[in-house]
Every structure is written in structure tokens, then in C-alpha cells.
Subunit: 415 residues, 2 copies
Amino acid sequence: MKIEIIAIGDELTSGRILNTTSSFAARNLYEAGYDIYAMNTIGDTPSLIGEALKRALSRVDAVLVTGGLGTTDDDLTNEAVSKALNRPTMPNLEILSNIRTHLDEITASPVSRLEKLAWLPSGAEALNPQSRMAGYQLIHDDKPIFFLPGVPSQMQQLLVEEVLPKLSTWHEDHRLTTHQRTFRIFDLPETEVNRRIATLDLSPDVHIGYYPVFPEVHLSLTVRDKKTNNAKRLFKSSCKAIYTVLGDSIYGCDRDSMQRVVGNLLAENHFTLAVAESCTGGLICRRITNSPGSSAYLLGGVVSYSNSLKTIYLGVTKELLEAHGAVSREVAEEMAVGVRARSGADIGLAVTGIAGPGGGSEEKPVGTVYIAIATSEENWVSKFHFHGDRNQIREIAAQSGLDLIRKYLLQKAQN
Amino acid sequence: MKIEIIAIGDELTSGRILNTTSSFAARNLYEAGYDIYAMNTIGDTPSLIGEALKRALSRVDAVLVTGGLGTTDDDLTNEAVSKALNRPTMPNLEILSNIRTHLDEITASPVSRLEKLAWLPSGAEALNPQSRMAGYQLIHDDKPIFFLPGVPSQMQQLLVEEVLPKLSTWHEDHRLTTHQRTFRIFDLPETEVNRRIATLDLSPDVHIGYYPVFPEVHLSLTVRDKKTNNAKRLFKSSCKAIYTVLGDSIYGCDRDSMQRVVGNLLAENHFTLAVAESCTGGLICRRITNSPGSSAYLLGGVVSYSNSLKTIYLGVTKELLEAHGAVSREVAEEMAVGVRARSGADIGLAVTGIAGPGGGSEEKPVGTVYIAIATSEENWVSKFHFHGDRNQIREIAAQSGLDLIRKYLLQKAQN
């Protein structure tokens, strides 16, 4: 069953507002087993709205329209639909009486403005007439069209509570069972992931997608079938095959994040972490503390952006800084050792590097980053040369630091 | 001059990836004076790609296509364009030689895969053949079509550096002069901004938009006219009027960020800053160090996520922590004083609070945050109660800390 999404609003076509509602709708509809044929975004222009709606009706089985249902003068969807589908607007009595009942609470707006919400194209059925959310369904040419508000929270609620249940009773037999997983990979380039997957003899019914989502590569596996059992079996065997060629390079799946995976490993091992950050400037700590409960494994850290703080807070001597420079193997190790010793953490992680755009030299160009790990047993320092702009170098350095911790903990678990 | 945007990728129509590139393109094209007729998002399906491209060519003056230009098997844009416009693919010799020159650096990938990047529809001109970014221009039916990669950073760079300059030399006379400015406001709610603007007697040719962009309110002012002088005069007088009612609540304009504004004020005053962060977990330091050159005013900081680090690194005594709790006026002040004294900075900033979802109590509910500033003259502590989820509370706390520094420095400049 093919669905088309039409988002309406000048705020979208001028790029002032990012269109998150269409993406939310696409994800939820796709996961429920529908195909998204196309997504359109157009301004508040009645002729374009009508044209897009008629084109969609000519090529798909159901249409979702968002935006332009409000009370202000630039909300023109109902007018456009009425004209395009030749359905004069009429007052919806249930909505009208609901508005009049609640008038006391909403006296700030003139009645006539609010009543605009009740004038819908003939045949429209309100999705939730008791709520204050605009939104209705029309059946036209035997195809359902859903009109939802552009406000993300309202649109999301109506989509999940009203549209998905209504759609699932419509053409029940057209739906496919969908199994989908996204594998998240950090330490391999996209081409290498592709090369390894190409060595597998995957069924033609398996759909693989490659998505570079900086600084990661996401590999999506999709199996869709009318027969539930077939699809499930094929999905399971494909997952297994993917792990055989990518192994620990897959750090997580679907909505996992590197910091969450590392946090879980630290918690399982009852290890605490302290971080000393120079070029990443607090990024690693911020990422770890995104997760509630991170105080169980993160003691905290030092953002030693200046050399003076490297000495004051981490015990890196001035002699060492002068002899090797702040961006060096030796200083990285001393930072990790220092933050571990002073904080009393099990593991010390340190990052020092040149994020640019200035500060590079021939010997140490922009992108040179040293990452050190200190533990009770031993210390390591890894040297990297990252490419990209300042923010990219910082992001990839932070992610690399977390990934080194992940690999250390995985290795420890194997021994 | 009307432009249509076509974004290609199964990752978009399945909602796995939010389409930020189309929004970036729309904003930049709109601000440069073009009208966005429609934005389309379709999957990696050659027939749909061809259909969308031909429809766009039939109704607009220029087309921007993003995505599907890479080396993997699901990148099908070039094939689709070749078929739809009847332009067989041919190797672009400049790109091919560039790929071969850089083979040493990228030996991980098979040559044949990379060479896919060089096979373009006939007539294609690479936008930046020296770079490793895919992207080309085609003139078809006397209309320019631009093909850009779907990777946001590459797409953004090519749009700004190649597409906008090329478009501006095309149909020069069709463009309207557009004056647009976004005023960034942090400390007033949207309704209050609206109320103050409504007191102004602005011309009907002035378009005002209100956009809550968490945790800020953005006010957009747009004046478009064919007559350059009129528009410019009206734009200037409107800007002035907006400042009279909003004053210092406007912390910046357009692409300013709070951290950049604060950084500039610190640099102008030759002040250094050190930060002690608990609930914000490194967010403030990370935001400040986003800007190149921030080492001129940021010494660094401490992420004192655990109580032990508050004692070890900031000198907050165990007695004080036990008497008042880590989230208290007294501890916030000691953190700011401690980080200032130990680091030797001119200003110490400290944040301690409960970001949730757990950890709240009746006396100190989730969202309770204390922010302290310590200077050579005096110390202040402000108490806040923020609403939202964990990330929102952290973001708004970090932004509030920066805004307090901004207001302190503005006040100092006035005295």
C-alpha cells in the first residue's frame, strides 16, 4: 500500500523551520508496513496544494497532508482542498459546539477566527472532535486522505492515535510485514562496509542501505514479506551473516549511541571513568552525561584547554609541556594518568590535539590527535590524523576516545 | 525565479534520517532572493527520480537535486537522470584522473567502485572536480540543474560555494532584493515578543515571523522589493524599531550563537573564564570551545559530576556538601569561587542542578538549577526552575549560564 505525504507551509519552503513532521510520519508509516511513495513540501499556495493533492490521488492508495489547518489568514489548506476536490466547506457541528463550549477558556481569540476550525470540506470527519486539535479524514475516490495540523506534537499524537489505527483497517491485505534493523559502525569507511557485505550471498528479498551519518556509517537491513514467518527467518539469518563480516565494528543497533554502549559496558564491569579533554573541550563528558544514571560510572573530568590547567589539575609538568608540546604522546599519557590518579577513577581517558582551523604545523598538522587510556594495569596512547573542519575533528576525536574505551572493555571481557 | 528541490534517498522516505539538507538549501536560496516552488523527497527509485525531475523542469526555472551520487549500489541518481533526460553516462576525465591521483590515500576501496563517481550524464560539469565531493551541473532545456551529494556537510559547502554564485549570474533580472534578518532572543517568551512587536506601527510591506527554536525565540524580519532603495530604507527603520522594544533581550542576529557573543565580549574586555559544571556535564565548555580562538578567553574547567570531584578539584568541603546538598546556593558559589581561584581566571562560572528524570524531591524538584558567577569584586548566585526533559534542562541551564556572563559584561561596559 503506497502513501504520499504532503507538508504545507511557507515556513518550510523558506527553510526557516526544519520539517520534522514528515520524517516522523514517514518513519512510523514505514515501520507499520506501508511504502512511502513520495514526500512533498509546498508553500501556503492554494493552487499548489490542490495540484499536489490531485497528483497524489492519481498515483497512491492513501494521502497524508500536514499543515495549514489553523485559524490565521495564512492557513489555506481547507479552502484549497474544497476547490480541488469540488467539496464545498460546511460547518462541522460537533467541532462548532465544542468550540462554543470552551469559549470561556479561550476568550483571547475572536469567535469568528476559532470557528474557522469547524468549516471543513464536505464529507470531512474530524479525527478527534473532543480535542482542540484540528485534523480530519476524507474518503475521496475510495482513498483515505488524512489532514493533520503542522504543529509537531499535535501531528504526532493524531498520527499515532488516529491515523495508524484507521489505516490498518483499510486494505488489511495490502500490508507487508516489515523487519528492519540499522547497524551502527564507526571504525570502517562506507566503501569497506559495502565490500564486506558484497562478499555475502544475501537473498534478493533482503534490502541493504548504506548511510554515512558523520562520523558513523549506518547499514540498514530491511526484509518485507506478506508471509510473517518467511520474513522473520530471512531477517534473522541476514543479521547473523552481517555480524560474521563486520563483528565488533558494529558498536550498536537502531537507536543505540556510542556513549550509551560505553556507559553500559562500564556499568556492567563496575568501572568508573574520569576524562581529561583538551581539543574536545568537554564534548566527551557532555556526551556521556546525556544519559540519565551516568553518575554511576562517570566521576567527571577536566577541560584542560589551557596549558596552565594541564599543570594545575592534571599534574602535567611544565618541563614535559615544553619538551614535547601540549599535543604529544607524552602529554596525552600524563593527562590520562593524572586525571585517573587525582579523581580515583578506574580508567582515565585523555584527548589532546589540534582541531584547527589554526594551530597546525608541518610536523603536527590540523587533525593530529593523541588519545590516551590509563588503567591500573597499563597505559596506551594512540595517534590519529583526522580530516574535516573543526567541529568534525572534535566529534570524531570524542567518538574515537569512547570507541577505544569500548574496545578495551570488550577485550577485557574476552580474557 | 522559481526553484524546486528534489531530495533522493530511501533513508529519507523511511524516516530513518531527518532531511536537513533540503531545509538548508531552501533557507539559503530563499535568503538569496529565489522562490522555492516545491520540495520533494523520494526514494532511490530511478523511475520516480526521472519523473520528479521532468515535472520540475516543466514548471520551474532551476532545479536542485540532492543525494544518490555516491559509490554504493543504492546510489542511482546518475543512472536515472541519464535515462530521463536521454543523456548517456560518460566518464568525466578530470574527476577520473583526480581519483587515480589520490588512489594511494584511499587504497582501502576498490578502484572500480570509486570510478563510479566519474561516470556522469553527458553534458555534466563537475562543480568542484579537485575535491573529493561528488556534485555537478547540467543545463537542460536552457535551465540549470544542480546535483549535490546527500551528505549534509558536502551538500552545504557546494551549495554555498558553487551553486549560489552560479545561480546569481543566471536570470539576474528576475530576482527580488531580499533583506532578511533573524533576531535571536533568549530571555523572553514568544508571546511577550509578539506583544511588544504589536505595539510598533510597522509597514504592511514588512513581514514578521515568530519561531520558537528551543531554548530561544527567533524573530524574522523580511522585506522584499524590486526597488533596492525602498526595501533597504524600510528594512533599516524596521530593525531600529525592533531594537527599541526588545533591547538587550536580543542577544544576537542571524547566525550568531550565545557562546560566540559571550566569547567576543570576553575577548574585548580581556577577561578569562573558567567553568565548573555539574548537571550540564561539559556542555558549557563544549559550546565555548566550538569557536576557533576560544583559548584566548577560556582557560578550561572542571566537570564535577561526582561530589568527590567537587572536593578534589574545586575545594568544596564535605561539610558544606553535607549541610546544604550538592544542589544548593552555597555549593554553587563555592564551585565558582573554587574554579576561579585555582585556575587563576578573571571570572568563575558554576552550574549545579537536577536535570532529571530522577533525583528530584519536593523541596528541590527536577529542573532546580543554581548558577553562580565569581569575580574579583563580588559573587552572585541565581536560582532557576527550568521545565522540560533532561536534555532541555541541560541546554537551557548552559544557555542561562552564558547569558548571565553576557549581562554581567554588558553592565560592566555601561559603568
